[in-house]
């Protein structure tokens, strides 16, 4: 590497008095004094959430309003801090529109005091049923309040568009006499 010798000029008299620098500094701070403020005043103003943000994990429904989770428990097993606890259950007999779906969770709890927002549950889910969405603030007064139950998870998740309609395709195939 070439060595460049930088010439160090001795300070001029004015520079040694330090005063022009002070004047320059005062000018800069005065500009900031009258400049518009940068603070986002949080509860009233919210930050724009970027695409791909990993917020609170939620369960989503498909466009037909059916729950997508089939309680395969992959997320429960992959979850590094063991925040997810699923009780698998059968599809209730009275829900005819879901009869072709294999299973559904009886209970689905995510302990937000354990969750580390890693997103592995979203990554591993074969049904695209669990998503880390935009909500970034979780608070509660008790430990129990910080556990998101199934109904709360669906309330937070809402409905996301679905390109596959896996169970509809399966039902259609069955009706046509195909295995799949």
């Amino acid at each position: 590497m070439a060595v460049i010798t930088v010439e160090r000029k001795p300070l001029t008299f004015l520079e040694r008095t330090y005063l022009p620098q002070i004047a320059g500094g005062l000018k800069t701070t005065f500009k900031h004094l009258i400049a518009p403020k940068k603070t986002l005043e949080y509860p009233e103003q919210r930050p724009a959430i970027p695409v791909g943000y990993r917020g609170v994990p939620t369960l989503v429904k498909d466009p037909n309003g059916r729950e997508k989770c089939v309680s395969c428990q992959l997320c429960e097993f992959v979850c590094p801090p063991k925040a997810i606890r699923i009780t698998p259950g059968e599809i209730p007999a009275d829900q005819a529109e879901r009869a072709h779906v294999e299973k559904g969770p009886q209970a689905f709890d995510i302990d937000m005091l354990r969750c580390i927002y890693c997103g592995l549950c979203q990554e591993v889910c074969p049904e695209e049923a669990i998503f880390l969405q935009n909500q970034f603030s979780m608070s509660g007064y008790t430990r129990a309040e910080m556990v998101n139950h199934k109904d709360r998870l669906y309330e937070l998740g809402g409905t996301l568009p679905d390109a596959h309609h896996k169970w509809d395709k399966k039902k259609a195939a069955e009706e046509h006499g195909n295995a799949h």
Binding site: I22, G25, L26, T28, T29, F30, H32, L33, I34, A35, K37, K38, T39, E41
Partner: protein
Amino acid sequence: MFDFYFEIPLVIRLILQGLAVIMVIFPIAGACSMAERKIAAWIQDRPGPNRAVVPWVAWIPFFGKFLQRLGVFHVMADGGKMLFKEDSLPGHVNKFYFVLAPIVAMIPALTTVVAVPFGAYFDAAGKLIPLGLAPFDIGMLAVFAVSSLGVYSAILAGWASNSKYPFLGSVRASAQLISYELSMTLAVLPVFLWVNAPGTEGTMGFARVVEFQSQSGFLGGMWFGFLMPISAFIFLVALFAETNRQPFDTVESESDLVGSFHTEYGAFKWGLFFVAEYSHMIVGSGVFMLLFGGGWNPLPWVSLATAVDFLGTFLPFAHAPLFVGILSIAIFMGKVLAMIFFFMWVRWTLPRFRYDQVMKIGWQKLLPLSIANLLFYAIAIALIQK
């Protein structure tokens, strides 16, 4: 109209006047603490404290919101907190001197106000009468003598705290105040050499200094800040050092001394130190404005008398002593507050000097400069006033 006031015994009148001045300085010191926070915030592109509000003020449209955004209620909340929180007395301190120190801090801070005239009016004969608690002839001497007592509070507090950092802080405070007092005094001398022309009555009062800055003519109307810029500059730098403001706040440098001499203090006693510091700033700014900034004259080359005559052309009551008095006080307070803004502006601009730099600037730069300045003006004034 106000004859009844002059029939009150003099002692009670003076007490009333003193209380009135204290009632002005205390809220200003409180407001200064909020101004400090707001200016810090604005310079850092933040809005600053703006949440606390009293409900019935919040109901006032616009104005209530304005007061809330200005952080006015944070001052009250802070003050209330400081008054009502537990005033603890650490077990390891020398209790008598520990309690004495904040009181000693307040006394010189509030006593110096006595010598500072803060306005003026014209009596029936057209003579300028300065307004002040005791505008006696040794004004400048009194301010120097009493304000330097302030260092005793720092020494007492640091020593009585019986702990390492407060002690270091108080040692620094005393060394710094002594170093800069010298150049400050020398910087002021040319002003009084000029004011005390041969053949006139000798004075160290501020009123005469302001009178000298409100004469007619180019040189007469010139403020001493323009006539003696080096003096003004040295006085200003020394004032920053004397009031322990940035960039000379090595005394209270949190990074190396925790809280310096008030580390062990809390609640109201700490608040007294705080108010004393701001009172020093207010009085120091006042003295600077009287000596170098034209006192109660509104603009350079525009004296109070000229301004009143101008206002008299369309305001019938402009020559009333009451109006002139209030006008001059308003002008003077405006200048003092501008000066305090400058203090804060500098605080959020300059980093703190290292302690050895503070000593070096004080002894090796400012002191020779002020001596040279004094010699120059002494010779020049001797030649002019011969």
